[in-house]
Subunit: 335 residues, 2 copies
């Protein structure tokens, strides 16, 4: 990191240590036994739009849409405020095909980020992004189809090359855990839209005030947009963002060739004035193992190689404008 | 109630008092300020089925379904266990167009059943039923369409006859609360299926052991099926069930004529041996105000008149077989 920043530095260590060591950390195992002391908890919808059908609502024709409204495209938020909370809450935005479940109990039943950070005194806000999970009301229509695709996701998420697990992978090998993992996915009820998502997340920051945004995977792109839209985002921790990287007009890098099944990776052009807003806060991007170092036909490893390469170009661009963005490849720091 | 039962009796009072008085109860207001002491909390998927596409999965054709699996039709469960919890946990099943949000913060920001019962020492299990919310993976396809229908729901749920509120209705009159209410609805991602839902809820009781099932509205039907499938359901509290009432073969009452927009109300025939399983536990059904006493063309009041009439026939049938089922109409008990 270019700037010294205690907040992000402690997040950096906390994130790595707790994420990877889990219950093998005896200090954490002891802490786990203690009750959580929650000063307040609750849920609400935030952001979104309203559609009104032309015409006049008539009580006797209440099943006709005329004159009726439809509220959609909001996020759902569940929050918990521990006793003696730190100043900055953590706002958690999940990735593709996921919900706030990402941050809750792990597939093998260990505590997830929700409990881990509550135990460390952080207020937590867990989001279901617009058009996902309990924020299912979408202003655009969708078809939900039960397409068998779980072996694809097993591979895409680098658990291994299905049916093989990667050597040393931390994901549990038992079938019950894998089943939990598959069942924690949940479909879009409307198309993915980074602007719609970041509008809602920005509204959340306006409501709760200064805080730290934690994103996973596909949530990375809406995360950058949120930080551009709202100066209450004081830091970003992004776990494996791979899409939606924004660049100043005229500075878009060439697409990165990839054997990944979603094809080559491209950035998104935005005005320089917007891009510069990403230099206001420290940003850390984490990537794990089993990412190729060189182009390869092994498509999952290559997909993430492309994502990591794009992330490094992006961080360098942010830092060129005197930002504070750091890419951490866990194997490079000995994890 | 026919049998004396301390458990249900206290639930009866607790439910009514806290539900209706909310923050106006000063004892509860004081209690609200205390931190929640949570011994453990987490989430998991329960129940469901697995579909496997014929053929062989090939790594290089991972976007084709051949040989891949799809896990769906499970419920999502979020649970919290307070310190020194009562013996029986409460399992909460929401109604139509809703999710576990039903039991969380109210539209005007007061604490919901989740916090209220945690403060009273009950473990709580909040469900998103199969094909809803974070349990969105459905083995049957669905279309999700943004149909403007909120003025219908306002009326159907007896907030009033839109745009008028019923006199004395407890629902807050400000627009922000109404917006929260509309945004807490979330669509089906597959057709409603009482058997699929009760299979999942039954699996939850098998996992957590003896407990009390609390249902809302459309959740009532799957609630009866759950209690038939699993003898760990030790009591049922049903808020305004209106559909899915089961009767022994040959004892189905005539459909109840109704001006409700969903038409006449019908029961469902099941074997007597199954029906008798509903006599094993105390059951309380609650209904609120603005339900017609006589048939009327005011369709929302008449819809619920039919539901209440069916409920009374149903409870009498359960009690005929020496069950313990009670219908409570709140205005009749002075609330």
């Amino acid at each position: 990191m270019k700037k010294s920043n205690t907040l992000v530095s402690s997040l950096w260590h906390l994130g790595i240590v707790l994420f990877l060591l889990g219950t093998t950390s005896s200090a954490y195992a002891q802490e786990k036994l203690k009750p959580l002391s929650i000063a307040h908890q609750g849920s609400f919808a935030i952001g979104g739009t309203k559609v009104t059908e032309p015409g006049t609502f008539e009580l006797q024709n209440a099943l006709k849409p005329q004159g009726q409204t439809f509220h959609g495209d909001h996020a759902y938020v569940f929050y918990q405020i521990p006793v003696n909370a730190h100043k900055y809450p953590l706002v958690f935005l999940h990735g593709a095909a996921q919900s706030k479940k990402t941050w809750e109990t792990t597939p093998d039943g260990r505590e997830g980020f929700q409990n881990i950070f509550l135990r460390r005194g952080f207020s937590i806000y867990l989001l279901d992004q617009p058009r996902r999970g309990e924020a299912g009301k979408s202003t655009v229509a969708a078809s939900v189809t039960p397409t068998p695709d779980e072996q694809f996701w097993f591979t895409q998420f680098r658990i291994g090359n299905y049916p093989d697990y990667f050597p040393g992978v931390q994901f549990p090998k038992d079938s019950a855990s894998l089943e939990q993992f598959f069942r924690q996915m949940t479909p879009n009820t409307g198309s993915f839209d980074g602007e719609v998502i970041s509008d809602a997340v920005s509204r959340l920051f306006t409501k709760v005030g200064d805080g730290i945004l934690v994103t996973h995977s596909q949530g990375g792109g809406p995360g950058w947009l949120t930080a551009i839209k709202n100066n209450k985002v004081k830091a970003i921790v992004a776990y494996e963002p791979y899409s939606g990287f924004v660049f100043p007009t005229g500075e878009l890098p060439a697409p990165i060739k990839s054997a990944g099944l979603f094809g080559d990776l491209k950035g998104v052009e935005i005005p320089l004035a917007d891009f510069k807003k990403l230099t206001r806060m420290p940003i850390v991007l984490y990537y794990g193992d089993n990412i190729a170092k060189e182009p390869t036909a092994v498509w999952n490893k290559d997909h993430w190689r492309g994502g990591l390469e794009m992330a490094r170009i992006w961080a360098a661009t942010v830092n060129k404008y005197v930002g504070d963005s750091t890419v951490v490849l866990l194997p490079e720091v000995g994890i």
